[in-house]
């Protein structure tokens, strides 16, 4: 009699697992398969026990395959031009804004959806507009950095030095901004400045006035004003369990901070899985220290460049 019940129990667990798997509820399916396996393993009397276990193992393997596929899928892939157009159009709000401001909104939306290449093209167009020039340029540099194309960002900046679309004062702003991003990337680089011929100074002075209007820079994300330099995370497992480990922030885009973990520190990397939430993270910014939660949005191994083999972990700050 006990036997019958166990058989039925196993059958239900397996049915549940199948359904959850088919609905894409993969963790739930895994729990049920594991439950079933445990029951079978602890009941030696079950008929063709090894067979059953083998069968379930196969299913678990297939399930693991699906889980890995999902984890590996790109988080912000380039989408079709049609979808990009839709994003540009539908995610630029504020109907009362002028067309330029809307165009900026659209480009920022593209960047937020990770469509950096297209966003760069859009921002590039906006360089033509006096009032948006510096904002658009900063955003372009950011997008290049988000694409990990430091060289292109630098080349772009150098190109601007020799163009005459920016005033020297604007270029100075861009340089300071760009250097601070590079520093966060761990790249110490002194960027060249434009050589100002003395007779240019007068026109420069005029530009300063224009520039004053642009002090309030529209931001890619609402949290951007909080420049986070480093964060402290309380580890809940591994050799450093219970300790607060401090990480330098390598790069920040909006409210997402990227950390760089050395590839050899496998135990540490194990602590970060996409979707993990850390409830108590200390964020050290230039202006304040605050506690908030954060969710791991991606964990990626760096495949090229000097940091090959290291891991890039993105954490999204959640202010409550």
């Amino acid at each position: 009699m006990v036997h019958m019940n166990i058989a039925r129990k196993i059958k239900t667990l397996l049915q549940e697992a199948e359904l959850y798997h088919s609905q894409g509820l993969l963790d739930e399916a895994m729990v049920k398969y594991n439950n079933a396996t445990e029951i079978i393993q602890s009941n030696e009397k079950i008929k063709s026990r090894q067979n059953l276990i083998d069968n379930i193992s196969k299913k678990i393997l297939a399930l693991k395959g699906d889980i890995i596929k999902i984890e590996k899928a790109p988080k912000k892939p380039e989408v079709s031009a049609k979808v990009q157009d839709l994003i540009k159009k539908m995610f630029s709000f504020s109907p009362d804004k002028d067309d330029d401001a809307k165009a900026l909104d659209g480009a920022i939306a593209l960047a937020k959806f990770g469509q950096f290449k297209r966003a760069i093209l859009e921002f590039n167009e906006l360089l033509k507009k006096d009032s948006l020039r510096v904002v658009a340029a900063k955003s372009m540099l950011r997008c290049h950095m988000a694409l990990s194309s430091v060289n292109e960002a630098v080349a772009q900046y150098e190109q601007w030095l020799s163009d005459d679309i920016f005033s020297t004062n604007q270029l100075d702003k861009l340089r300071v901004f760009f250097e601070s991003i590079l520093t966060k990337e761990g790249i110490e680089k002194t960027l060249p400045r434009r050589k100002t011929p003395a007779d240019n100074i007068e026109s420069e002075m005029e530009m300063v006035g224009v520039d004053g209007v642009q002090v309030k820079v529209p931001e890619i994300e609402d949290y951007e004003t909080l420049d986070i330099n480093s964060i402290g995370i309380t580890m809940d497992s591994g050799p450093q369990e219970g300790q607060v480990v401090e990480f330098k922030v390598r790069f920040q885009l909006g409210n997402v901070v990227s950390l760089l973990l050395p590839g050899r520190d496998k135990d540490l990397i194990e602590n970060f899985k996409a979707g993990d939430v850390f409830n108590d993270i200390q964020y050290y910014s230039t202006v304040a220290l605050f506690n908030a939660s954060g969710i791991v949005t991606s964990v990626k191994e760096i495949k090229v460049g000097p940091r090959r083999g290291d891991y890039c972990v993105d954490i999204e700050v959640e202010l409550n």
């Binding site: 049915q15 359904l19 596929k69 988080k75 839709l86 979707g275 969710i295």
Partner: protein
């Protein structure tokens, strides 16, 4: 953020399907796309990833005819439900006028339903919107699974879990068969348009 285009005599509004991953938001929209051909005024655009999960959003443009000479245009979206797409979810929610919260009747998803509702409340709040004030409708989806060999919550329990304080209209549904799908959307549209009327009167 409804957009009133006085010159074109057009009202544009935005409805968003929200809910935990895999609860059936995209399936809802697919059914609407097929069953309401007359109201659908463009193609359904889906940006998804591995395993049919929504990555950015699904989008469906609809037209509801005219009210007092105004053309009513509706943009319907679904958010990605997976936890890790939090920032995208918030982005898609921006400018929302009415929300359909889809919950999953599978007992194993009980906690996920509640977490997603909290997440909705949190994200709305960040846009300065109270979950108690926005036109909101609830849908308890996957009712077709009740009576099959999997643990499914009762509607009463789901109401207690999710709708005790909100007390918004709610519908049992099966997005796969289409049962309750149209009724849910219609109710949300009704509430949304009603709230416009109020806004126009008071403003």
């Amino acid at each position: 953020m409804a957009i009133f285009k006085l010159k074109k005599r057009e009202i544009e509004c935005k409805i968003v399907y929200y809910g935990p991953g895999r609860c059936g938001k995209t399936t809802n929209m697919e059914y609407i796309f097929k069953a309401y051909k007359k109201q659908v005024i463009g193609e359904m655009i889906s940006v998804d990833t591995e395993g049919d999960r929504t990555l950015f959003f699904d989008f469906l443009p609809m037209g509801l005819g005219t009210i007092k000479d105004f053309d009513i245009k509706v943009q319907v979206y679904t958010v990605p439900g997976q936890v890790q797409y939090r920032s995208t979810r918030k982005l898609v929610l921006k400018g929302v006028d009415g929300v359909i919260f889809v919950s999953d009747s599978l007992a194993v998803r009980r906690e996920k339903n509640m977490l997603s509702l909290k997440d909705l409340q949190h994200n709305l709040k960040e846009y300065g919107i109270s979950i108690f004030k926005i036109p909101l409708v609830m849908q308890h989806n996957k009712r077709d699974l009740a009576g099959q060999d999997v643990p499914v919550m009762s509607v009463e329990q789901m109401e207690r879990d999710l709708n005790r304080q909100l007390k918004v209209p709610s519908f049992p549904a099966s997005a796969i068969t289409g049962e309750g799908v149209g009724a849910t959307l219609k109710e949300c549209l009704k509430l949304t348009l009603l709230s416009f009327k109020k806004q126009i009167k008071s403003g």
